[in-house]
Symmetry: C2
Subunit: 463 residues, 2 copies
């Protein structure tokens, strides 16, 4: 089914991609377009472009392709007559769900629910998943505060004109370098602190932002230094919670990624996250783990937070990307008290659940989490060797499963390395200031890791 | 292909729906669930529920079903082998679009572009369409303000910590009763003022909210009074723009629905909108027409703003729902200067464009806009007659195409009428405080209007 190697015909973007970029440029901004793709010809780990170049894909549509291109299981799902109606009739899930909806949730999303959670709300993308999780935390916080009494008349009327007390001065604490979406001129974007271009010119909120630990790699060598750095950040978190409470903008929730992805693949220890979770509990803040990029198996466990080894990792876990549908899991007490408080027209898309069920089947049948652990080891080991060999170019190799990254000397070198590697047939992505990130799909094998490492070695040797 | 009448077996929700609601209640809040549906058995204008009840659907998944359930053209599209890859491989459209993307945009979305617009950005839902349109307006406003010089170092650094001048104090002016989405604890929600339950407990922005004209119906009878009311509102709009500029939070854009939908189907005259558009131009604000609910043909023209009869209706027009994909059209100058400023993982979903192309074909082939005008007339005429016959129950019948509404005596009566009509086999929706809204799909014929009117007449007679 799959190809066995890259095959390059032109530099990338080739002439056909360039012409298409020109055409699309008449319709919208194309500043971010890399090249155009022939998705029909793409297979498994290999993405084929409009000029017939076939690349090993370690970026997979910003980490959103779970089991490679045109997987036979997915092709079969969409040609199954029983599934057609889910594609053709998109329901307003919040009011008129299809009769198989509870059953489908149980067999797909709930079968991989994080520890301690039996509830899930589907959404359509990572941003509305985080947004609505924020809303759930605000509602939870206010209900808790009100106790038995309902909202006051003043609260009811003031919220309609965007004023307190109905629209309360609540905040969400996030971390510098975090990324939680960019819809809203406000909410998610207010918690996103990864790149200037995401934020400039867009009004925002006065919400607290804590420093995320800047660890030294490899982690095993800097245990004491890193522990100190993490303690410093946790202290700052507690200070901010107290300060914002005093400011009259209490922190209703803390949001954090298990690995800061867009921000540069920044890791922290399991201990850091467990302590952070405890701080949230101590101060009455909900704890929201954003697994939009880390979830779905790429770290070798289905959720990255499973690596922390705790039975009570979070109050809310949001997801999207590799899960194909967006949404969030939540604890019972985070359930809003009424209907329509968390609501929009579609509330997700059951046609994406059809594919997710198949993806989960494939993951189980083919033991893909074990494969990810194995190929991730090969990838990271190879990166260690390359950074030892090219210390003037590479440093700070790090990773969990195939969710790996390495730093280049500077941003220009990083961008050049990515382009040169692409011209040799491997597609990579950047993140943070000067990191290269690896985000293959779950069908990435040791064999593909070695294929990439060989090509990358050639690029580095020539550099 | 279609059924010819409702067929009711149980009250709604029936026992099967009730049992499924109980099951789903263990997984998420079901406060908004009406009943469960059998989408496989649903056809055209008729929605079949889990208990085998078949209802004439005048609500169509909150106005999001363009050409009825299981339309043969859509069934054909999804079984066409050429389309499979668009469903199975969802691309990150902003960086790696499929090679047929420009062509598909031209043949689908751009073939129905509003006057003066040749550009379109796809998005995944109404909320992110509006959100990103807001971002485009903020960016446009700041670029205009900066002139030739780029952002300052201070702007670049301050935006990363949610502070000015990088996150500027800009605002969007919206109207009381407007609804523009509810993601964001902030942005769209800050412009939404339709129901307490949408807003309570969610922090918001200090953005100006103008009164929307409260017209007296039928419009022909109250021309002078309504003109005065509209003049009052327009004056208030100008006052707010000036006031917010003085406050240091200049209005970058004005957002308005051609008919306030969630807010209660509030209409205003063509003259009102043309004057509003001129006020926006005069004060250097972008003019954003939100056609998420009104667009796609339901008013008898493809876009509701076409009724205004102006060649320059807006700077930005957002859409979703019946268009199946979200997004917004925009004028050349609203195009952001760089890539990644308007960006997210998916930027829409090409599989929805596959269906949209077919929908547009059906609309053209079957002259559905003319049909909508015809059946809308029959519907509105019937509503006029019913309100004359039952003046103690109904008033203020109004509409454009099949986008109609009528007020009940009070909210309790409205809710009761909707439930009783449902038990007789017609599905209706509410909006505003005491309005019933009619949102059939575009394949709703005069025949269906009479079917509904007969049933509704029975309900009213028994009430
Ligand atoms: S905000 Fe998530 S799909 Fe629109």
């Amino acid at each position: 089914f799959e190809y066995d190697a890259p095959s390059m015909k032109t530099p990338v973007p080739g002439p056909k991609s360039k012409e298409l970029t020109r055409q699309l440029g008449d319709i919208q901004n194309v500043g971010a377009v890399n090249f155009f793709c022939n998705y029909e010809e793409s297979r498994g780990n290999y993405l084929v472009d409009a000029d017939g170049n076939r690349m090993l894909d370690l970026y997979t549509q910003i980490s959103s392709v779970p089991i490679g291109y045109n997987h036979p299981a997915l092709m079969k799902a969409i040609t199954n007559p029983n599934n057609l109606t889910a594609f053709v009739n998109r329901p307003a899930l919040g009011i008129l769900p299809p009769e198989n909806f509870p059953e489908k949730l149980i067999e797909s999303l709930l079968s991989v629910a994080p520890a301690g959670m039996t509830r899930v709300q589907t959404m359509a993308c990572g941003s509305c998943s985080n947004e609505n999780a924020f809303k759930a935390m605000f509602i939870w916080y206010k209900i808790k505060e009100r106790g038995a009494s309902g909202p006051s008349a003043e609260e009811m009327s003031s919220c309609m004109i965007n004023q307190g007390p109905g629209c309360p001065d609540l905040s969400i604490l996030s971390f510098m370098g975090g990324f939680h979406g960019r819809t809203m001129g406000k909410c998610c974007l207010a918690t996103t602190h990864s790149k200037v271009i995401h934020k400039l010119d867009i009004p925002s909120f006065d919400w607290p932002i804590a420093p995320f630990p800047k660890l030294q790699y490899p982690l095993e060598q800097f245990v004491r230094e890193n522990a100190q750095e993490e303690a410093r950040c946790l202290e700052e978190v507690e200070d901010l919670i107290v300060k914002w409470r005093q400011k009259g903008k209490p922190v209703a929730g803390i949001i954090v990624e298990p690995i800061q992805a867009e921000g540069g693949d920044n890791h922290a220890s399991h201990d850091f996250f467990i302590k952070l979770r405890n701080i949230a509990r101590k101060h009455g803040c909900a704890f929201h783990v954003d697994e939009v990029q880390t979830g779905g198996g790429t770290t070798g466990k289905f959720w990255a937070h499973e690596h922390w080894g705790t039975g009570d990792p979070a109050d809310i876990v949001s997801f999207s990307k590799k899960m194909l549908t967006g949404g969030y899991y939540f604890k019972d007490e985070l359930q809003p008290d009424k209907g329509y408080r968390i609501f929009n027209t579609w509330m997700g898309d059951p046609s994406k659940n059809v594919f997710l069920s198949e993806v989960l089947n494939v993951i189980r049948r083919e033991n893909l989490l074990e494969e990810v652990t194995r190929s991730g080891k090969a990838l990271l080991q190879g990166l260690y060797e390359l950074q030892a060999q090219y210390p003037h170019l590479l440093s700070r190799a790090r990773g969990l499963g195939t969710f790996c990254a390495i730093d280049a000397r500077d941003d220009v070198t990083r961008d050049n390395l990515i382009l040169k590697t692409r011209d040799k047939g491997v597609l990579l992505g950047g993140c943070g200031e000067m990191s290269i990130r690896f985000r293959p799909s779950l069908v990435f094998k040791e064999y593909h890791a070695h294929q990439f490492l060989n090509i990358f070695n050639d690029v580095l040797a020539e550099y």
